[in-house]
Subunit: 283 residues, 2 copies
Amino acid sequence: MKNIFCIGIGLIGGSFAIDIKNYNPEAVVYGISRKDATLEKALELDLIDKKATLDDLENADLVIVSIPVDATVKLLPTILDKISDNTLVIDAGSTKGAICKVVEHHKRRRNFLACHPIAGTENSGPTAAISGLYKGKTNIICEVEKTTFKLQEKALELFRAIGMRIRYMDAVSHDKHIAYVSHLSHISSFMLGKTVLEKEKNERDIFDMAGSGFASTVRLAKSSPAMWTPIFNQNKENVIESLEEYISNLQQFKELMQKDNFSEIFNEMENTNYIKQILNGIK
Amino acid sequence: MKNIFCIGIGLIGGSFAIDIKNYNPEAVVYGISRKDATLEKALELDLIDKKATLDDLENADLVIVSIPVDATVKLLPTILDKISDNTLVIDAGSTKGAICKVVEHHKRRRNFLACHPIAGTENSGPTAAISGLYKGKTNIICEVEKTTFKLQEKALELFRAIGMRIRYMDAVSHDKHIAYVSHLSHISSFMLGKTVLEKEKNERDIFDMAGSGFASTVRLAKSSPAMWTPIFNQNKENVIESLEEYISNLQQFKELMQKDNFSEIFNEMENTNYIKQILNGIK
């Protein structure tokens, strides 16, 4: 795959560009973005070789779509309209249901592979792109059977070359589980940040008191609202369900405290310590 | 200060022992613990030189109390009973109100300096102790005026030698603010861990889908229940207040989602992004 088109060149797209060029120095990476400033920055950082537009997609061997998920839903049919018969299109969205749905009946559905590389950080934009971001990370591929086999093979070769582990899943299950293991974490972190900022906004030096534990827990509250708002929108039902269960657990914890039932508070924490075994498996 | 007694030799006490020996090779570190296994492990790890009991405290130049805060409240008066007139006693508890209160009228109150080094991690026990834990970390000292000046000076010399920054605060303010910037983070993390474990307990391989964001947000759910239960108990009122505000913010976020008010969801997140500036200041 020689002509690589990155639509969106932030953390995800930019890091793909870096790894692809390391793995295949022959590759020419074209950048497409709504904002010219992003393209200029991506050129300056050597993430891309050239600027391009959607009309150039007919020359693409690979198109990587890594833009907010609402933009993907809008743009993906047009992208498939413009590619050639041999082009592979992958996305990197944190929701999969709406994205798969919008191209369900597209005549080039078989050129598209729905992906979710679990490799985000709280940083965004071209300057956040790094080499080796995907090494050892999981890439969840949805509805693999809908992509033509030859293009699946090309995609897998790329993912293997940059060190990713592959998991296959249907889009409905993906969206349900990812609400718990990713989307809910972001809300818990944003609201924790909000609660503390509201309380302490007039006492800024109070944050001298905050340690690495606080920093770790609110880290995700640095995430991009432009990226996360459409994710919550597209995965609304699953996210609300997870949020209700979270609120109910917090409420119950509070009630145990109010009743001075600290032996049960101890048990709650001890049972949850089981998360240690699980975290040991996460890179 | 030659004879150093560590009451409790876990992450906090053990790391103090390591740094003190590095800074003053003449120091002899004695360990006191309820559990002989902890002392044996601490000897094996070279954290302490000798085992000791409370009756040896009359020979202490410095006593570092780093045990759960309920144990500190129980034991601190006895410790002050047993020391000599020139002994400095410091604690490291994450609450300060109850600890200061229990020795308020003790005849050796002036030998005690109430401290809270903001240096904990989710790990505990002697094996968690590390060199340099305190470098660049904040140590909050409460009611400094109640400690005799000569012993304050000794304490400050030690804290400076191991690289700590000092902040002075009254115990009531400490407990109020620390509920927000530390205690609440632990509950949010424990309950997030609980919510996800409850949902996904029968689908363990789902955690392949979890990335570094989830890991960061639930990291504190690995913390020791034996340490945290008495903290929540002693700081009950402040913690409940912070928890109520947190739950209310989560509830409001959920309602915005239910009403499809995603422009306000965007604003909430964008406003909270301000946390970036604050996190930049936290080591």
